[in-house]
Protein backbone atom coordinates (compact mmCIF):
# COMPACT_ATOMS: atom_id res chain seq x y z
CA UNK A 1 0.00 0.00 0.00
CA UNK A 2 1.24 3.48 -0.92
CA UNK A 3 2.59 5.70 1.80
CA UNK A 4 0.14 8.48 0.91
CA UNK A 5 -2.90 6.25 1.17
CA UNK A 6 -1.68 5.02 4.55
CA UNK A 7 -1.14 8.58 5.72
CA UNK A 8 -4.60 9.55 4.45
CA UNK A 9 -6.32 6.71 6.30
CA UNK A 10 -4.27 7.49 9.42
CA UNK A 11 -5.28 11.16 9.27
CA UNK A 12 -8.92 10.18 8.79
CA UNK A 13 -8.72 7.86 11.82
CA UNK A 14 -7.09 10.62 13.90
CA UNK A 15 -9.69 13.23 12.94
CA UNK A 16 -12.55 10.80 13.58
CA UNK A 17 -11.12 9.90 17.00
CA UNK A 18 -10.81 13.59 17.92
CA UNK A 19 -14.37 14.31 16.78
CA UNK A 20 -15.64 11.25 18.71
CA UNK A 21 -13.76 12.33 21.82
CA UNK A 22 -15.45 15.74 21.65
CA UNK A 23 -18.93 14.21 21.21
CA UNK A 24 -18.31 11.64 23.99
CA UNK A 25 -17.09 14.26 26.46
CA UNK A 26 -19.40 17.19 25.69
CA UNK A 27 -22.49 16.04 23.77
CA UNK A 28 -23.48 12.69 25.22
CA UNK A 29 -25.15 12.75 28.64
CA UNK A 30 -23.94 10.84 31.72
CA UNK A 31 -25.29 7.34 32.23
CA UNK A 32 -28.07 7.19 34.82
CA UNK A 33 -26.49 4.69 37.24
CA UNK A 34 -22.76 4.85 36.52
CA UNK A 35 -22.29 8.58 35.98
CA UNK A 36 -19.47 9.95 33.80
CA UNK A 37 -17.18 6.87 34.06
CA UNK A 38 -19.45 4.96 31.66
CA UNK A 39 -17.75 6.96 28.84
CA UNK A 40 -14.81 4.58 29.06
CA UNK A 41 -17.07 2.04 27.34
CA UNK A 42 -16.68 3.98 24.09
CA UNK A 43 -13.05 2.84 24.10
CA UNK A 44 -13.29 -0.39 26.10
CA UNK A 45 -15.78 -2.19 23.86
CA UNK A 46 -14.52 -0.90 20.46
CA UNK A 47 -10.94 -1.81 21.48
CA UNK A 48 -12.18 -5.34 22.24
CA UNK A 49 -13.95 -5.59 18.88
CA UNK A 50 -10.86 -4.26 17.10
CA UNK A 51 -8.67 -6.83 18.86
CA UNK A 52 -11.16 -9.56 17.83
CA UNK A 53 -10.95 -8.38 14.21
CA UNK A 54 -7.14 -8.51 14.39
CA UNK A 55 -7.18 -12.03 15.84
CA UNK A 56 -9.67 -13.07 13.16
CA UNK A 57 -7.39 -11.60 10.48
CA UNK A 58 -4.46 -13.52 12.00
CA UNK A 59 -6.52 -16.72 11.89
CA UNK A 60 -7.49 -16.26 8.23
CA UNK A 61 -3.92 -15.28 7.27
CA UNK A 62 -2.56 -18.33 9.13
CA UNK A 63 -4.94 -20.70 7.33
CA UNK A 64 -4.02 -19.04 4.03
CA UNK A 65 -0.32 -19.43 4.82
CA UNK A 66 -0.76 -23.15 5.50
CA UNK A 67 -2.63 -23.63 2.23
CA UNK A 68 -0.61 -21.31 -0.05
CA UNK A 69 2.80 -21.20 1.74
CA UNK A 70 3.26 -17.53 0.89
CA UNK A 71 5.30 -15.69 3.57
CA UNK A 72 3.24 -12.55 3.00
CA UNK A 73 0.32 -14.22 4.81
CA UNK A 74 2.64 -15.02 7.70
CA UNK A 75 3.66 -11.37 7.90
CA UNK A 76 -0.03 -10.35 7.92
CA UNK A 77 -0.78 -12.84 10.73
CA UNK A 78 2.12 -11.56 12.80
CA UNK A 79 1.30 -7.87 12.24
CA UNK A 80 -2.39 -8.40 13.01
CA UNK A 81 -1.54 -10.30 16.20
CA UNK A 82 0.83 -7.60 17.44
CA UNK A 83 -1.73 -4.85 16.80
CA UNK A 84 -4.50 -7.03 18.27
CA UNK A 85 -2.45 -7.43 21.46
CA UNK A 86 -2.10 -3.65 21.74
CA UNK A 87 -5.87 -3.17 21.43
CA UNK A 88 -6.56 -6.05 23.80
CA UNK A 89 -4.27 -4.31 26.31
CA UNK A 90 -6.34 -1.11 25.89
CA UNK A 91 -9.44 -3.21 26.51
CA UNK A 92 -7.98 -4.75 29.67
CA UNK A 93 -6.65 -1.47 31.07
CA UNK A 94 -9.84 0.53 30.43
CA UNK A 95 -11.82 -2.32 31.97
CA UNK A 96 -9.63 -2.22 35.07
CA UNK A 97 -10.09 1.54 35.44
CA UNK A 98 -13.86 1.13 35.12
CA UNK A 99 -13.79 -1.75 37.63
CA UNK A 100 -11.86 0.36 40.15
CA UNK A 101 -14.53 3.08 40.02
CA UNK A 102 -17.66 0.91 39.86
CA UNK A 103 -16.66 -2.26 41.75
CA UNK A 104 -14.00 -0.67 43.97
CA UNK A 105 -11.30 -3.13 42.84
CA UNK A 106 -8.91 -3.12 39.92
CA UNK A 107 -9.37 -6.76 39.05
CA UNK A 108 -12.20 -9.21 39.75
CA UNK A 109 -11.50 -12.86 38.95
CA UNK A 110 -14.56 -12.94 36.82
CA UNK A 111 -14.91 -15.30 33.82
CA UNK A 112 -14.91 -12.57 31.16
CA UNK A 113 -11.93 -10.73 32.62
CA UNK A 114 -9.99 -13.90 33.20
CA UNK A 115 -10.65 -15.09 29.66
CA UNK A 116 -9.61 -11.77 28.17
CA UNK A 117 -6.33 -12.08 30.09
CA UNK A 118 -5.84 -15.72 29.06
CA UNK A 119 -6.45 -14.71 25.46
CA UNK A 120 -3.80 -11.99 25.76
CA UNK A 121 -1.29 -14.44 27.26
CA UNK A 122 -1.98 -17.05 24.59
CA UNK A 123 -1.28 -14.56 21.79
CA UNK A 124 1.75 -13.24 23.65
CA UNK A 125 3.01 -16.85 23.62
CA UNK A 126 2.52 -16.80 19.84
CA UNK A 127 4.90 -13.85 19.55
CA UNK A 128 7.38 -15.52 21.93
CA UNK A 129 7.36 -18.66 19.78
CA UNK A 130 8.06 -16.57 16.69
CA UNK A 131 11.08 -15.02 18.37
CA UNK A 132 12.46 -18.41 19.30
CA UNK A 133 12.53 -19.80 15.73
CA UNK A 134 15.19 -18.53 13.30
CA UNK A 135 14.24 -20.27 10.06
CA UNK A 136 11.53 -18.10 8.35
CA UNK A 137 9.47 -20.92 6.82
CA UNK A 138 9.69 -23.08 9.97
CA UNK A 139 8.65 -20.03 12.01
CA UNK A 140 5.76 -19.25 9.66
CA UNK A 141 4.48 -22.83 9.68
CA UNK A 142 4.65 -23.39 13.43
CA UNK A 143 3.22 -20.01 14.35
CA UNK A 144 0.37 -20.46 11.85
CA UNK A 145 -0.61 -23.68 13.63
CA UNK A 146 -0.37 -21.96 17.01
CA UNK A 147 -2.47 -19.04 15.78
CA UNK A 148 -5.25 -21.45 14.75
CA UNK A 149 -5.14 -23.05 18.21
CA UNK A 150 -5.07 -19.66 19.90
CA UNK A 151 -8.30 -18.59 18.25
CA UNK A 152 -10.22 -21.10 20.39
CA UNK A 153 -9.54 -18.83 23.39
CA UNK A 154 -10.97 -15.85 21.45
CA UNK A 155 -14.16 -17.80 20.82
CA UNK A 156 -14.42 -18.74 24.50
CA UNK A 157 -13.82 -15.12 25.61
CA UNK A 158 -16.64 -13.99 23.31
CA UNK A 159 -19.08 -16.53 24.76
CA UNK A 160 -17.87 -16.26 28.39
CA UNK A 161 -20.57 -13.77 29.46
CA UNK A 162 -23.23 -16.20 28.25
CA UNK A 163 -21.69 -19.42 29.58
CA UNK A 164 -20.86 -18.25 33.10
CA UNK A 165 -22.69 -16.01 35.51
CA UNK A 166 -20.26 -13.16 35.68
CA UNK A 167 -19.84 -9.82 37.36
CA UNK A 168 -18.99 -8.32 33.99
CA UNK A 169 -21.95 -6.51 32.37
CA UNK A 170 -23.86 -8.73 29.93
CA UNK A 171 -24.26 -8.02 26.21
CA UNK A 172 -25.90 -4.64 25.52
CA UNK A 173 -25.58 -4.14 21.77
CA UNK A 174 -28.75 -4.74 19.78
CA UNK A 175 -27.12 -7.17 17.32
CA UNK A 176 -26.41 -9.56 20.22
CA UNK A 177 -29.47 -9.03 22.40
CA UNK A 178 -32.07 -8.54 19.65
CA UNK A 179 -33.52 -5.56 21.53
CA UNK A 180 -32.59 -1.95 22.19
CA UNK A 181 -31.11 -2.02 25.72
CA UNK A 182 -29.07 1.19 25.45
CA UNK A 183 -29.88 4.57 23.94
CA UNK A 184 -29.56 4.39 20.12
CA UNK A 185 -27.34 7.50 20.14
CA UNK A 186 -24.91 5.82 22.56
CA UNK A 187 -24.92 2.63 20.48
CA UNK A 188 -24.22 4.66 17.34
CA UNK A 189 -21.24 6.29 19.03
CA UNK A 190 -19.87 2.87 20.01
CA UNK A 191 -19.97 1.80 16.36
CA UNK A 192 -18.46 5.10 15.17
CA UNK A 193 -15.58 4.79 17.60
CA UNK A 194 -15.15 1.13 16.63
CA UNK A 195 -14.84 2.26 13.01
CA UNK A 196 -12.22 4.87 13.97
CA UNK A 197 -10.18 2.34 15.99
CA UNK A 198 -10.50 -0.18 13.17
CA UNK A 199 -9.04 2.36 10.73
CA UNK A 200 -6.22 3.03 13.20
CA UNK A 201 -5.59 -0.71 13.55
CA UNK A 202 -5.55 -1.07 9.77
CA UNK A 203 -2.91 1.65 9.46
CA UNK A 204 -0.84 0.08 12.26
CA UNK A 205 -1.00 -3.34 10.59
CA UNK A 206 0.11 -1.92 7.24
CA UNK A 207 2.99 0.00 8.90
CA UNK A 208 4.08 -3.21 10.62
CA UNK A 209 3.75 -5.14 7.33
CA UNK A 210 5.92 -2.56 5.64
CA UNK A 211 8.57 -2.95 8.36
CA UNK A 212 8.43 -6.71 7.93
CA UNK A 213 8.94 -6.41 4.16
CA UNK A 214 11.92 -4.13 4.71
CA UNK A 215 13.32 -6.56 7.28
CA UNK A 216 13.04 -9.38 4.76
CA UNK A 217 14.85 -7.29 2.13
CA UNK A 218 17.62 -6.47 4.64
CA UNK A 219 17.95 -10.17 5.52
CA UNK A 220 18.19 -11.03 1.82
CA UNK A 221 20.89 -8.41 1.27
CA UNK A 222 22.77 -9.63 4.33
CA UNK A 223 22.69 -13.21 3.03
CA UNK A 224 24.01 -12.01 -0.34
CA UNK A 225 26.78 -10.04 1.37
CA UNK A 226 27.77 -13.15 3.36
CA UNK A 227 27.75 -15.25 0.17
CA UNK A 228 30.12 -12.78 -1.48
Amino acid sequence: MGKNIRLGIGALAGLLLLRNLYVILFNLPDEMEQGPIYRIFYYHLPAYFTAMCCYMTALVASVLYLTKRNLRYDAIAMSATEVGLAFAAVNLITGMIWGRVIWGIWWAWDARLTWALICWLVYFGYLMLRQAIDDPSERAKNSAVLSIFSFVSVAITYKAIEWWRTQHPGPVLSFRTGQQLIDPEMERMLYTNFFALLLLAFVMVTVRLNQENLQRQIDGLRRRAHAL
Binding site: I118, L121, V122, M128, K141, V145, F149, S150, S153, I156
Partner: protein
Protein backbone atom coordinates in the same frame (compact mmCIF):
# COMPACT_ATOMS: atom_id res chain seq x y z
CA UNK B 1 -3.45 -49.36 14.80
CA UNK B 2 0.16 -48.34 14.14
CA UNK B 3 -0.22 -45.64 16.78
CA UNK B 4 -0.39 -48.35 19.46
CA UNK B 5 2.99 -49.64 18.28
CA UNK B 6 4.42 -46.13 18.48
CA UNK B 7 2.95 -45.77 21.98
CA UNK B 8 4.36 -49.17 23.01
CA UNK B 9 7.80 -48.14 21.66
CA UNK B 10 7.73 -44.90 23.65
CA UNK B 11 6.53 -46.62 26.81
CA UNK B 12 9.14 -49.34 26.47
CA UNK B 13 11.92 -46.83 26.01
CA UNK B 14 10.68 -44.76 28.97
CA UNK B 15 10.35 -47.79 31.25
CA UNK B 16 13.93 -48.81 30.39
CA UNK B 17 15.47 -45.46 31.23
CA UNK B 18 12.73 -44.08 33.54
CA UNK B 19 14.28 -40.66 33.07
CA UNK B 20 11.14 -38.50 32.77
CA UNK B 21 9.04 -40.83 34.92
CA UNK B 22 11.34 -40.58 37.94
CA UNK B 23 11.94 -36.86 37.50
CA UNK B 24 8.25 -36.13 37.07
CA UNK B 25 7.16 -38.24 40.03
CA UNK B 26 9.71 -36.82 42.42
CA UNK B 27 8.90 -33.31 41.20
CA UNK B 28 5.19 -33.95 41.88
CA UNK B 29 5.94 -35.12 45.44
CA UNK B 30 8.17 -32.09 46.05
CA UNK B 31 5.39 -29.73 44.93
CA UNK B 32 2.90 -31.56 47.16
CA UNK B 33 5.31 -31.00 50.03
CA UNK B 34 5.89 -27.33 49.16
CA UNK B 35 2.15 -26.61 49.12
CA UNK B 36 1.94 -27.65 52.75
CA UNK B 37 4.09 -24.63 53.70
CA UNK B 38 1.79 -22.21 51.86
CA UNK B 39 -1.26 -22.91 54.06
CA UNK B 40 -2.43 -25.03 56.96
CA UNK B 41 -2.57 -28.54 55.48
CA UNK B 42 -4.64 -29.93 58.33
CA UNK B 43 -7.36 -27.27 58.04
CA UNK B 44 -10.87 -28.13 56.88
CA UNK B 45 -10.66 -25.62 54.03
CA UNK B 46 -8.19 -27.87 52.17
CA UNK B 47 -11.05 -29.81 50.55
CA UNK B 48 -12.30 -26.57 48.98
CA UNK B 49 -9.16 -26.10 46.92
CA UNK B 50 -7.99 -29.72 46.78
CA UNK B 51 -8.83 -30.02 43.06
CA UNK B 52 -6.79 -26.93 42.29
CA UNK B 53 -3.76 -28.21 44.21
CA UNK B 54 -3.93 -31.63 42.67
CA UNK B 55 -4.22 -30.38 39.10
CA UNK B 56 -1.43 -27.87 39.55
CA UNK B 57 0.79 -30.76 40.60
CA UNK B 58 -0.36 -32.75 37.55
CA UNK B 59 0.23 -29.79 35.25
CA UNK B 60 3.79 -29.23 36.51
CA UNK B 61 4.61 -32.92 36.41
CA UNK B 62 2.92 -33.23 33.01
CA UNK B 63 5.14 -30.56 31.45
CA UNK B 64 8.20 -32.68 32.28
CA UNK B 65 6.71 -35.77 30.65
CA UNK B 66 5.44 -33.86 27.62
CA UNK B 67 8.73 -32.08 27.08
CA UNK B 68 10.36 -35.44 26.47
CA UNK B 69 7.66 -36.70 24.11
CA UNK B 70 9.35 -35.55 20.90
CA UNK B 71 12.70 -34.49 22.37
CA UNK B 72 13.33 -38.17 23.15
CA UNK B 73 13.72 -38.76 19.40
CA UNK B 74 16.35 -36.08 18.84
CA UNK B 75 19.53 -38.12 19.58
CA UNK B 76 20.75 -40.08 16.53
CA UNK B 77 18.19 -38.21 14.34
CA UNK B 78 15.45 -40.68 15.29
CA UNK B 79 12.80 -38.01 14.70
CA UNK B 80 13.87 -37.58 11.07
CA UNK B 81 13.69 -41.35 10.58
CA UNK B 82 10.24 -41.54 12.19
CA UNK B 83 8.95 -38.73 9.97
CA UNK B 84 10.46 -40.35 6.87
CA UNK B 85 8.93 -43.74 7.76
CA UNK B 86 5.59 -44.80 6.23
CA UNK B 87 3.83 -44.01 9.55
CA UNK B 88 1.50 -41.04 9.02
CA UNK B 89 1.98 -37.90 11.09
CA UNK B 90 -1.39 -38.40 12.77
CA UNK B 91 -0.53 -41.99 13.80
CA UNK B 92 2.85 -40.91 15.11
CA UNK B 93 1.30 -38.06 17.05
CA UNK B 94 -1.51 -40.20 18.42
CA UNK B 95 0.99 -42.87 19.51
CA UNK B 96 3.11 -40.32 21.33
CA UNK B 97 0.01 -38.79 22.93
CA UNK B 98 -1.16 -42.20 24.17
CA UNK B 99 2.28 -42.96 25.65
CA UNK B 100 2.42 -39.61 27.50
CA UNK B 101 -1.20 -40.08 28.58
CA UNK B 102 -0.44 -43.47 30.16
CA UNK B 103 2.68 -42.14 31.92
CA UNK B 104 0.93 -39.06 33.24
CA UNK B 105 -2.10 -41.03 34.39
CA UNK B 106 0.21 -43.42 36.26
CA UNK B 107 1.82 -40.46 38.03
CA UNK B 108 -1.59 -39.03 38.88
CA UNK B 109 -2.76 -42.33 40.33
CA UNK B 110 0.36 -42.49 42.51
CA UNK B 111 -0.01 -38.86 43.60
CA UNK B 112 -3.69 -39.19 44.56
CA UNK B 113 -3.17 -41.45 47.62
CA UNK B 114 -0.08 -39.46 48.66
CA UNK B 115 -2.18 -36.29 48.45
CA UNK B 116 -4.93 -38.01 50.48
CA UNK B 117 -2.45 -38.92 53.23
CA UNK B 118 -0.63 -35.56 53.35
CA UNK B 119 -3.75 -33.39 53.30
CA UNK B 120 -6.21 -35.68 55.06
CA UNK B 121 -8.54 -35.94 52.06
CA UNK B 122 -10.84 -38.95 51.63
CA UNK B 123 -10.93 -39.82 47.95
CA UNK B 124 -11.84 -43.53 47.91
CA UNK B 125 -15.68 -43.18 47.90
CA UNK B 126 -15.52 -41.10 44.72
CA UNK B 127 -12.69 -42.97 43.01
CA UNK B 128 -14.52 -43.95 39.80
CA UNK B 129 -15.96 -40.51 38.96
CA UNK B 130 -12.55 -39.06 39.89
CA UNK B 131 -10.89 -41.46 37.48
CA UNK B 132 -13.29 -40.28 34.77
CA UNK B 133 -12.25 -36.66 35.37
CA UNK B 134 -8.57 -37.67 35.46
CA UNK B 135 -8.98 -39.45 32.11
CA UNK B 136 -10.69 -36.47 30.46
CA UNK B 137 -8.39 -33.82 31.96
CA UNK B 138 -5.23 -35.78 31.29
CA UNK B 139 -6.22 -36.45 27.70
CA UNK B 140 -6.79 -32.73 27.11
CA UNK B 141 -3.43 -31.90 28.67
CA UNK B 142 -1.59 -34.62 26.73
CA UNK B 143 -3.07 -33.92 23.32
CA UNK B 144 -2.22 -30.23 23.55
CA UNK B 145 1.13 -30.86 25.23
CA UNK B 146 2.24 -33.42 22.67
CA UNK B 147 1.36 -31.05 19.85
CA UNK B 148 3.31 -28.24 21.47
CA UNK B 149 6.13 -30.66 22.14
CA UNK B 150 6.28 -31.22 18.36
CA UNK B 151 6.08 -27.45 17.77
CA UNK B 152 8.95 -26.67 20.11
CA UNK B 153 11.14 -29.76 19.65
CA UNK B 154 13.79 -27.96 17.58
CA UNK B 155 14.05 -24.91 19.82
CA UNK B 156 16.96 -24.40 22.15
CA UNK B 157 14.53 -22.94 24.71
CA UNK B 158 12.01 -25.77 24.44
CA UNK B 159 11.94 -26.52 28.20
CA UNK B 160 10.83 -22.93 28.73
CA UNK B 161 8.61 -22.51 25.68
CA UNK B 162 6.47 -25.60 26.21
CA UNK B 163 4.99 -24.61 29.59
CA UNK B 164 4.68 -21.01 28.42
CA UNK B 165 2.54 -22.05 25.47
CA UNK B 166 0.81 -24.96 27.14
CA UNK B 167 -0.43 -23.52 30.44
CA UNK B 168 -2.50 -20.59 29.14
CA UNK B 169 -3.92 -22.69 26.32
CA UNK B 170 -5.00 -25.58 28.53
CA UNK B 171 -6.74 -23.39 31.11
CA UNK B 172 -10.26 -24.44 30.00
CA UNK B 173 -9.42 -28.10 30.66
CA UNK B 174 -7.45 -27.33 33.80
CA UNK B 175 -10.17 -25.07 35.18
CA UNK B 176 -12.90 -27.64 34.54
CA UNK B 177 -10.86 -30.52 35.93
CA UNK B 178 -9.97 -28.50 39.04
CA UNK B 179 -13.58 -27.56 39.70
CA UNK B 180 -14.95 -31.07 39.12
CA UNK B 181 -12.22 -32.69 41.23
CA UNK B 182 -12.90 -30.27 44.08
CA UNK B 183 -16.61 -31.14 43.97
CA UNK B 184 -15.84 -34.86 44.12
CA UNK B 185 -13.17 -34.57 46.83
CA UNK B 186 -15.61 -32.52 48.94
CA UNK B 187 -17.88 -35.58 48.89
CA UNK B 188 -20.49 -34.16 46.50
CA UNK B 189 -21.82 -35.45 43.19
CA UNK B 190 -21.51 -33.63 39.87
CA UNK B 191 -24.85 -32.28 38.75
CA UNK B 192 -26.93 -29.17 38.08
CA UNK B 193 -24.86 -26.09 37.25
CA UNK B 194 -21.59 -28.04 37.53
CA UNK B 195 -22.38 -29.96 34.36
CA UNK B 196 -21.23 -26.90 32.39
CA UNK B 197 -17.67 -27.74 33.54
CA UNK B 198 -18.02 -31.33 32.40
CA UNK B 199 -19.33 -30.16 29.02
CA UNK B 200 -16.44 -27.71 28.73
CA UNK B 201 -13.91 -30.46 29.51
CA UNK B 202 -15.39 -32.86 26.95
CA UNK B 203 -15.72 -30.04 24.39
CA UNK B 204 -12.06 -29.09 24.96
CA UNK B 205 -10.93 -32.67 24.39
CA UNK B 206 -13.00 -33.06 21.21
CA UNK B 207 -12.04 -29.67 19.70
CA UNK B 208 -8.32 -29.92 20.41
CA UNK B 209 -8.02 -33.59 19.44
CA UNK B 210 -9.65 -32.81 16.08
CA UNK B 211 -7.53 -29.68 15.51
CA UNK B 212 -4.33 -31.46 16.54
CA UNK B 213 -4.93 -34.45 14.28
CA UNK B 214 -5.78 -32.15 11.39
CA UNK B 215 -2.68 -29.96 11.80
CA UNK B 216 0.03 -32.28 13.08
CA UNK B 217 1.06 -33.43 9.58
CA UNK B 218 1.82 -29.80 8.74
CA UNK B 219 4.09 -29.46 11.78
CA UNK B 220 6.02 -32.68 11.27
CA UNK B 221 6.67 -32.39 7.55
CA UNK B 222 9.65 -30.12 6.93
Amino acid sequence: MIFLQVAAKDLRSELRTKESLNASLSFAVVILLLFSFAFDPSGEAVAEFSGGLLWLVFAFAGALILNRSFARELPNDCLEVLIASPVSGAQLFLGKSVASFVLLLAIELICLPIFGIFYNITWTPKFWPLLGIFLLGTWGMTILGTLFSALTVNLSLRELMLPMLLYPMMIPALMSAMRLTTILLSGNDIGGDDLVWLRLLIGFDVVFTTLALALVETILVR
